[in-house]
Amino acid sequence: MTTDTLGGRPATAAPLAIELRGISKAFGPVQANKDISIQVARGTIHGIIGENGAGKSTLMSILYGFYKADAGEIIINGKPTIIPDSQSAIRAGIGMVFQHFKLVQNFTVLENVILGAEEGRLLRPSLAKARQLLADLSREYELDVDPDALIEDLSVGHQQRVEILKALYRHADILILDEPTGVLTPDEADHLFRILRGLKDQGKTVILITHKLREIMEITETVSVMRRGEMTATVKTAETSPEQLAELMVGRKVLLQVEKRPASPGKIVLAVENLRVKDDNGVDRLKGVSFTVRAGEILGIAGVAGNGQSELLEALGGIAHGQGTVRLNGETLDLTGRHSDGQSRRAQGIAHVPEDRQHLGLIMDFTAWENVVFGYHNAPQYQKNLLLMDNAACRSDTERKMERFDVRPPIPTLAAKNFSGGNQQKIVVAREIERNPDLLLIGQPTRGVDIGAIEFIHKQIIALRDAGKAILLVSVELDEIMSLSDHIAVMFDGRIMGERDPATTNERELGLLMAGVGAADPVRGAA
């Protein structure tokens, strides 16, 4: 089968903590997990690595009783187990630390730990008992947290410790952590790893889901690689290398060849200097980013999702506020004031195909034509007179755009939600590109889009470049970045890790940069 293509089955004598056999799970037409089998030995740290959307989280959610697998078997500590809900998973000794913590913000640490696992009807004895146990656990595993602190007053790293304590308090001996370091500082991540090693030494089994190669190399003993819902390999970490894993992760995908002439970059259109963005909670998401994009050039921003690319697009697109200096054609953009909104940006010649087509780029209940005018509803061509919009003009314009972009079905009055992903994206791309902007911001242009539409959208992006426009492309798909970009910048943790020329770099090198490896020597030459 697909397992054991490399290195063979982990040849350990230790009994298995978890064995999954032939797990499959589909969401509608999307096959999230395809016949996945995996074996994790007791008392080890096992990594599961893969790109976004590879199916890692779905697999673990099945293990924790959130989803029911369509097919397959779960065997825990040698016993076939059915896990219909979280309660059963907890009983089977599985603890899960979610990427987004499941904590009650205005409860104390102690209250969060005992929630759902109270000793009796009254809190006081439960709390007292938990306090004692927590103190023991904290000492044993370096998990210090103030048991009486409110969660909302704790740092993210400490909140994560609470999640681990929750699992330990429930006597979990298999601990699953989903992208645990995504929200941690390097120091906090180091501390977490010490904790995980301590857990392992006590005989616990740890499953670490991550997309960061460095973490896999640093802490795991065995690693399974997932790609597009399939398990491509399970190998011993000691017997592999980051390069090999990167290749397994990304796969030797046939590069979609996009025909394009060499770029002929002109003047600088977009100049970003030391751009910083905080999220709603005041956390720095973009920590000082500088780059330029020239006319007739595509700058591709590569990186794993959640490393600041979204915030970059939002700040440039007028959705989020930011600090720093951004100049468009030499003119400074307003990043915080009255003119830092989407309308002003559009007026200045910036078009934006957002990453999140379903929640930002389109209004799903709106018809195709209402979506085609979305953001440009003030444009003179759509007005009948001072008061009224010219719906007929909107519709005929939509018809024209639908024809040009081959949107199917070409019905302007059909609601956006009734188009396929690819056709939805064509509507958004048509809307933004047909404005002939000086700068196009385009995020994940082909996420959830079928092959035919991918090719078409890529051609449109190239055509806009050839028309002398500047394009900032953000994508988590490395081959998309490779085939479209004239220049590549890799983002990690809110910063640009390095810039590369697509002609002289390769996916392995970019993969390492994306995983935060190579920060020390960002100018290392191409392989």
């Binding site: 989280s57 907890i90 499941k102 009650v104 913000q105 005992i114 759902g116 109270e118 009807r121």
Partner: protein
């Protein structure tokens, strides 16, 4: 100026008027703390007031009346739970519907049963909650200051007043000292935390909505069988909304709820007693006193004075996601 006897009378009436507010406010507290907004307090109180008045008058037994009132209120709670928990509908719209349902059905059924234009017959002694004279009230009556306070203010209320007051520490205890309370509060803040801990969000929310129903039942029964002698059409007169206001004013906490309800009860007592109040420079109109609870609530909601933060998951049906 006000003499001591008048002051005592006003305070005494404050306690009486605050009682239904307090019961309804605590009812709302349980529901909203579990994440289910409830603007249907008014309707549940009204239904309970009618049923308790009706059954008490038919049977002559106030306790049967009380049970019937609680039952009626629970029935409406069940509808609210069905709409907002099971079918993940809009909690606010459901509340509005329940208020109208109660408003219409009480008159419809009342007219059909008693043909008194929506009233129930005046309750005889057995059909009402009688004032309870606390021990030594009569003997201590003549002790200066403390005697009258004990006799007038503390003694001489119906059992439901003491129940309501006792429910404040009881609610605080239940919410903050028991496993159930912990889970209930957690469900209103972050249902996903409860769900991933393997506890049923739906179960806890239904339990909270049921408690809300019972307490609204007590509030309604108090109106019809203790504060008055029988049910009158629309007798809740917006008290459910004032309780809602008090709940916000109290920032969803039991002891604060007592304070807020006593304050709003005092305002009502003053408005009842004095009509317009002359404070020398100008006259405070009675209508201002009546509107004051609502004005205060808007000020609190605006967040200029001590922001009231509702339970974080309030108003949102829980949809499982990873």
């Amino acid at each position: 100026m006000m003499d001591f006897a008048t002051l005592l009378q006003i305070l005494d009436s404050t306690v009486r008027l605050a009682t239904p507010l307090l019961l309804a406010c605590l009812a709302g507290l349980f529901s909203e703390r579990a994440g289910i907004f409830d603007i249907g307090l008014e309707g549940k109180m009204l239904a309970a007031a009618f049923m308790s008045g009706a059954i008490a008058s038919v049977t002559g037994n106030v306790w049967l009346g009380l049970l019937a009132g609680i039952f009626a209120s629970l029935l409406l709670s069940a509808i609210h739970g069905l709409a907002s928990i099971t079918f993940k509908g809009n909690q606010l719209i459901s509340g509005v519907a329940i208020n109208f349902l109660a408003s219409g059905l009480t008159v419809l059924i009342g007219q059909n049963w008693f043909a008194l234009g929506g009233r129930t017959p005046a309750l005889e002694a057995g059909g009402r909650f009688q004032p309870i004279t606390l021990p030594f009230a009569e003997t201590l009556r003549d002790v200066p200051i403390l005697g009258p306070i004990y006799y007038e203010l503390i003694s001489g209320h119906s059992i439901l007043v003491y129940v309501a007051l006792a429910l404040v520490p009881a609610s605080a205890w239940l919410l903050y000292r028991t496993r159930f309370g912990l889970r209930l509060r957690a469900v209103g803040e972050n249902p996903a935390a409860v769900d991933t801990a393997g506890i049923s969000v739906v179960g806890i929310r239904f339990a909270a909505v049921a408690i809300c129903g019972v307490l609204c039942g007590l509030a309604g029964a108090y109106l019809a069988t203790a504060l008055s002698a029988g049910f009158v059409k629309e007798m809740t007169a917006g008290r459910g909304y004032i309780a809602l206001a008090a709940l916000i004013f109290a920032k969803w906490r039991p002891w604060y709820a007592l304070g807020a309800c006593l304050l709003f009860g005092l305002l009502e007592a003053i408005a009842n007693r004095f009509q317009n109040i002359d404070v020398g420079a100008f006259v405070i109109p009675v209508q201002f006193m009546q509107a004051l609870p609502y004005i205060l609530t808007v000020v609190i909601l605006a967040g200029f004075v001590g922001k009231a933060i509702p339970p974080r998951a309030g108003g949102e049906p829980y949809v499982k996601e990873r």
